[in-house]
C-alpha cells in the first residue's frame, strides 16, 4: 500500500523545524507503523538523505519509548495501542498523514519526533516510590493485600510513561501520569506511610517542570495506551487536599 507522509523535521531544539513530505510506495498492511518508518529510513540512508529520528525500543507496547502524533492524535487512531503496535491495516491505501512530536513545554524536542521526557523521571524522584532500602523488608506474606486493592494498584501501575497523556491534554498536564503512580502506591498498605508527602512532592515537581493543571478534558484517558482511567486524577486531588490539610498541623511532613 501507499502512504503520503508529512513528517516534522527539526534538527535540534534550537532549530525552527518544518514538515517534509515523503511518499511511501511499498508498504504492506501487516507492517507496524514503525516498521514502515524503518523501511523509509533505510531508503533515505541509501539515497544519501538523513533518516527520520523517532524513538522506540521494545516494539511490543511496554517500554513506553515510542510515541508521536499521527494526524493530531497521540499514538494514532487505534485505541489502547502504542504506535509500535499500530499496524498499517488501520489506514487506507494512499492516505495522507501528518506526523509530529509530542508538543509540551515540559517535553523539549531533541530531534524530529524525539522529545526529552526527563521531567517524568524527576516527578518520580520527587516521591514516586516507597522507601524500602535493601535488607529491611519484612516477610512478603506478612501483610495481606486484599485482591481488589492489589488489582486496582496493578491497573494504575500499568502506566508505561510514554507521555501521550501530556501530548493530548490541552493544558499539557502530567496529571494522569502523576495520578497513576500515586494510585499504584496509594492502593497498597506499604504505600501509606509516605502517601501525603508523595502527593505533595510529585505534584510540586510536575508544576516546576512546566506541565499544566487538569481541567477535566479527558483527552488523556482517550489516548492512554494502557487504559489508565481519568478517575485516578480525582483520587490524586483527594490525596493532595488531604496532604495539604494535614500538612498545616504536621511540621514533620512540611
Amino acid at each position: 500500500m501507499k502512504l503520503d507522509l508529512h513528517v516534522w523535521r527539526q534538527r535540534s531544539v534550537a532549530d525552527a523545524g518544518r514538515f517534509e513530505r515523503y511518499q511511501v510506495v511499498d508498504a504492506s498492511a501487516d507492517m507496524s507503523f514503525l516498521e514502515m518508518l524503518d523501511v523509509l529510513n533505510e531508503r533515505l540512508a541509501r539515497e544519501g538523505g538523513v533518516p527520520i529520528a523517532f524513538e522506540s525500543d521494545c516494539r511490543e507496547g511496554i517500554c513506553g519509548a515510542c510515541g508521536f502524533m499521527i494526524d493530531g492524535v497521540a499514538h494514532g487512531p487505534r485505541a489502547r495501542t502504542t504506535v509500535c503496535q499500530l499496524h498499517l491495516r488501520a489506514f487506507r491505501d494512499g492516505q495522507e498523514l501528518w506526523l509530529e512530536p509530542w508538543r509540551a513545554r515540559g517535553f523539549p524536542v531533541v530531534r524530529d519526533l524525539v522529545v526529552d521526557r526527563g521531567a517524568f523521571d524527576r516527578i518520580i524522584a520527587a516521591g514516586g516510590y516507597i522507601t524500602a532500602p535493601t535488607g529491611r523488608a519484612p516477610e512478603a506474606n506478612a501483610v495481606p493485600v486484599a485482591k481488589p486493592e492489589a488489582e486496582a494498584a496493578m491497573d494504575a501501575a500499568a502506566c508505561i510513561g510514554c507521555g501521550a497523556c501530556v501530548a493530548a491534554c490541552p493544558n499539557a498536564s502530567a496529571s494522569l501520569f502523576t495520578a497513576a503512580k500515586l494510585a499504584h502506591l496509594g492502593h497498597l498498605p506499604q504505600g501509606q506511610a509516605e502517601r501525603a508527602s508523595r502527593a505533595r512532592g510529585m505534584i510540586a515537581e510536575a508544576d516546576r517542570a512546566g506541565f499544566g493543571g487538569c481541567s477535566n478534558a479527558g483527552a488523556c484517558e482517550a489516548v492512554c495506551p494502557k487504559g489508565i482511567r481519568a478517575s485516578t486524577i480525582a483520587r490524586m486531588n483527594r490525596d493532595y487536599l488531604a496532604a495539604v490539610w494535614r500538612g498545616r498541623a504536621d511540621p514533620v511532613d512540611s
Partner: protein
C-alpha cells in the same frame, strides 16, 4: 605472558549451603564514613543495574549510573512477561532452596557453576520480600496472600507474577528505588549515554568512555569500580525478542580490554513467539511461556491439513510435546520445546504461512475455567497477539514459533561476580554465571535482582576494601582516559565518514541470517565452518561498504546502530568458534553430530564439563580458549529426561 589454562572462580570453601555465609563472614568491609570516598559506575539500568545502583547508593557509595535509553524505566527487563521464581514454598507443594537449585542446574544441562546457582536459590525468597516492600503489585489470592503459577522445567508452583507484566513491575520497583537515590544526591543518572569503552589503569577497571546520544559529546568517567549490567546479545541474530536497542557493545568493548567471554554460543531460543511474517519485520514478539501452563501445543496429524484449527477434530491433532514428554508435557524446558517445534516444522508438519508455526491452544482451558479466568491471567498477551496478527486467539489457537530470546553466555565472572579485570563486575544477563546451557523460565528476573540487590553491593565493597588502588584519584586527565576517548572519537569519525552504499541495518540482516541458519537451534561442524567464512566476509564488506548518514555531533540513530552492528559481527564470529569447539550437545547448544537415538541433546561430560572462556588476543590473532572446570559435588550429572 602465559596465563594458566584454567580459571579459578574463587569459590569459598565448605559445603554448598554455607558458602555464601562464609564469603560474607570473611569479606572485607568499608566503614560507613569511608564509603563516600569510593565511587562506583553502573552501566545499564535494567533489573540488575538499577537494583545495584540503588543498593550501592543506599550503602553510601557515590554512584553514577548510565543507560542508553531516554529513561532508566525503559530498560529491556521491562518486557519480561511471565514471572519471577522464588523458593518460598507458599503452595506447600514440596519446594525448597535445594529443589530450585536442582531444577536450575538440571535445566542448564549441567553446564553452570553449582556454588553460584545455590546462592541464587538461597537469595530468591528475599527478592520477593524486597519487591513487595517496594510496592510491586504481585498477583494475590482472595485471602490477600501472594499467588503463584507454574513454569517450564519445574514440577512445583514457585513463580510470582504481576499479570503478564512482571518484568515491568519489578523494573519500576527498582527504578523508583534508583530515582529516590537520585533525589537524595547519592546517585547521578546519565540517561541517553552509551558506554563505548572501558578504561583500565594499572590492570584495574577505573572508568568508562561514554557518548551522549543527544549531543554526540564523548566524555570520560572515572570511578573505583565499574559494574556492567548491560543485558544480553540475542540481537546478534537481528530478529529476536529483545528490544531494538539491546546490544553487546559494552561487554564487547570490555572483552577487547581484557575481560574474558564465557560460553558465547549458549543462546536461548524461546519456543513461544509470534511467527515472522516478512522481511520488513523489526523484531519478534514473545508470548509468555506461562501460556504453556494452560495451553496445549499441537499440529495436525496430517501435514498440510488446510482446515482451520477449530475444525480439526481432537483425534486428528498431534500434541507432540505431551506425546514425547508425558511427565512434563507442555511444560518441558525451553530448549526442548523449541527443538521439538523445529523438528515438526522441518518435517513439513508446521502450520500458517510458510509452514513455520505450531498451534498453542488455550481452548481446553477456556472451556474448563471460563473466558474471564483465562483473560485475567493472559488478557494482555491475547491483546498483543491480536494486534500483531489480526486474529482473535479466543476463536482459534495462536500460532507460535521459536525465536532468539536470551543469552546464557556473557562475560566470565568469579563467585564475587568480578570479571577477569579486577574492579570490573558484571551482573544479570551480561554475565554467564547461573543458567548453564539453558535458562529456565522466570529465572532471569530472579538472577538480575539477586546480582544487583544482594550480591554486588557486598562483593564490590569487599573489592574496594581490599584493592590497593592508586592513592591519587584517577581523573579523566589520566593518559588512559585520553587514549580511550581518542579511540572512541576515531571510531565515530570513521563510521560517519564511511562512503559505502549499504546501511548498517542491511549488514545486520545478513549477519542474522547466517547465525540463525548455522548457529541457531541446530549446529553442525560443516555449517559452523561455512558461517565463520561468511561472517569474516561480512566483516570485510562492512569496512568497505557501510554508509552512515548524518554527523557524529548530534542525535544520530544510524550511527548508534552502525557501532552496535560492527560489534555484533565480531561477536558472531566468536559464537561460531565457540560452537565449533564444543563438540557435544548440551541445553540450547545442539550439535547434530551429538544426539541420542531419540533426538535429544547428548552431552560429553568427560571432555566438556567446563565453561569455555575466551580471551581477546589482539586485532589480528584468534581469541584464546581457556576453561573453568565444573565440579559437581551435590548433583550428579545425568541425561536430562523430561519424559
Amino acid at each position: 605472558m602465559n596465563a594458566p589454562a584454567t580459571l579459578d572462580a574463587r569459590i569459598p570453601p565448605g559445603p554448598l549451603e554455607t558458602k555464601w555465609d562464609t564469603f560474607k563472614a570473611e569479606m572485607k568491609l568499608v566503614s560507613p564514613a569511608n564509603r563516600r570516598r569510593y565511587s562506583v559506575i553502573v552501566v545499564g539500568a535494567g533489573l540488575a543495574g538499577a537494583s545495584a545502583a540503588a543498593s550501592l547508593a543506599e550503602l553510601g557509595y557515590p554512584v553514577t549510573c548510565f543507560c542508553f535509553q531516554d529513561s532508566p524505566r525503559r530498560a529491556h527487563s521491562i518486557a519480561a512477561q511471565g514471572g519471577i521464581n522464588a523458593a518460598k514454598n507458599y503452595q506447600n507443594d514440596g519446594d525448597s532452596v535445594r529443589r530450585l537449585f536442582h531444577d536450575t542446574i538440571k535445566g542448564g544441562d549441567f553446564r553452570s557453576r553449582e556454588a553460584n546457582v545455590y546462592r541464587l536459590a538461597q537469595l530468591s525468597a528475599g527478592i520477593i520480600d524486597q519487591c513487595v516492600a517496594q510496592g510491586v503489585p504481585f498477583a494475590r489470592e482472595y485471602g490477600g496472600s501472594l499467588a503463584n503459577r507454574s513454569f517450564g522445567g519445574a514440577q512445583v508452583s514457585r513463580t510470582f507474577y504481576a499479570r503478564g507484566q512482571t518484568g515491568q513491575q519489578l523494573l519500576l520497583g527498582a527504578y523508583q528505588a534508583l530515582e529516590r537515590q537520585v533525589a537524595l544526591g547519592q546517585c547521578r543518572m546519565l540517561a541517553r549515554h552509551e558506554m563505548l569503552d572501558l578504561v583500565v589503569v594499572d590492570g584495574a577497571a577505573r572508568g568508562i568512555v561514554a557518548r551522549d546520544l543527544a549531543t554526540g559529546a564523548i566524555t570520560g568517567h572515572a570511578a573505583h569500580a565499574v559494574v556492567l549490567a548491560t543485558g544480553g546479545y540475542a540481537n546478534v541474530f537481528r530478529l529476536s525478542t529483545n528490544a531494538l536497542g539491546s546490544n553487546a557493545t559494552a561487554i564487547w568493548r570490555a572483552y577487547k580490554r581484557g575481560a574474558a567471554f564465557a560460553n558465547p554460543c549458549f543462546t536461548q531460543i524461546h519456543p513461544t513467539c509470534v511467527p515472522a511474517t516478512g522481511g520488513h519485520q523489526a523484531k519478534l514478539t514473545l508470548m509468555s511461556e506461562s501460556l504453556r501452563n494452560d495451553g496445549r501445543v499441537w499440529v495436525p496429524c496430517v501435514p498440510g491439513d488446510t482446515r482451520r484449527a477449530p475444525e480439526i477434530p481432537e483425534a486428528e491433532r498431534d500434541y507432540f510435546l505431551e506425546r514425547r514428554y508425558p511427565s512434563y508435557g507442555n511444560l518441558v524446558p525451553r530448549d526442548v520445546a523449541s527443538r521439538a517445534a523445529k523438528a515438526v516444522c522441518d518435517a513439513g508438519g508446521g502450520v500458517g504461512p510458510g509452514g513455520y508455526g505450531v498451534y498453542l491452544d488455550l481452548g481446553d482451558a477456556i472451556a474448563r475455567l471460563g473466558r474471564p479466568a483465562i483473560d485475567e491471567r493472559y488478557g494482555n498477551l491475547f491483546e498483543m497477539y491480536q494486534r500483531i496478527t489480526d486474529e482473535d486467539p479466543h476463536a482459534a489457537p495462536m500460532r507460535i514459533y521459536p525465536a532468539p530470546h536470551y543469552t546464557m553466555g556473557g562475560l566470565w565472572v568469579d563467585y564475587a561476580l568480578m570479571s577477569t579485570i579486577p574492579g570490573l563486575f558484571v551482573l544479570g544477563e551480561a554475565n554467564f554465571s547461573d543458567h548453564g546451557a539453558n535458562r529456565l523460565g522466570a529465572s532471569a528476573l530472579m538472577q538480575g535482582l539477586a546480582d544487583g540487590t544482594f550480591i554486588a553491593p557486598l562483593t564490590v565493597g569487599d573489592y574496594l576494601a581490599s584493592a590497593k588502588l592508586a592513592d591519587v584519584e584517577v581523573g579523566v586527565t589520566h593518559p588512559a582516559f585520553a587514549e580511550a576517548m581518542a579511540g572512541v572519537a576515531r571510531r565515530v569519525e570513521a563510521l560517519v565518514s564511511a562512503r559505502g552504499r549499504r546501511p548498517a541495518a542491511a549488514f545486520h540482516r545478513d549477519l542474522g541470517t547466517v547465525l540463525w541458519d548455522e548457529c541457531g537451534m541446530s549446529r553442525s561442524a560443516g555449517g559452523l565452518r561455512a558461517a565463520l567464512e561468511s561472517v569474516a566476509e561480512l566483516r570485510a564488506e562492512y569496512e568497505r561498504d557501510v554508509v552512515v548518514p548524518g554527523r557524529g555531533s548530534e542525535l544520530n540513530q544510524s550511527l548508534e546502530r552502525a557501532g552496535r552492528v560492527a560489534d555484533f559481527i565480531e561477536l558472531g564470529e566468536l559464537m561460531c568458534r565457540d560452537a565449533l569447539e564444543r563438540e557435544e550437545s548440551c541445553g540450547s547448544h545442539f550439535r547434530v553430530e551429538h544426539q541420542t537415538p531419540a533426538g535429544e541433546a547428548k552431552r560429553d561430560d568427560a571432555r566438556f564439563a567446563h565453561v569455555a572462556v575466551w580471551e581477546h588476543a589482539g586485532p589480528d590473532a584468534p581469541a584464546r580458549r581457556r576453561v573453568e572446570p565444573l565440579a559437581f559435588t551435590t548433583v550428579t550429572p545425568s541425561e536430562r529426561s523430561y519424559q
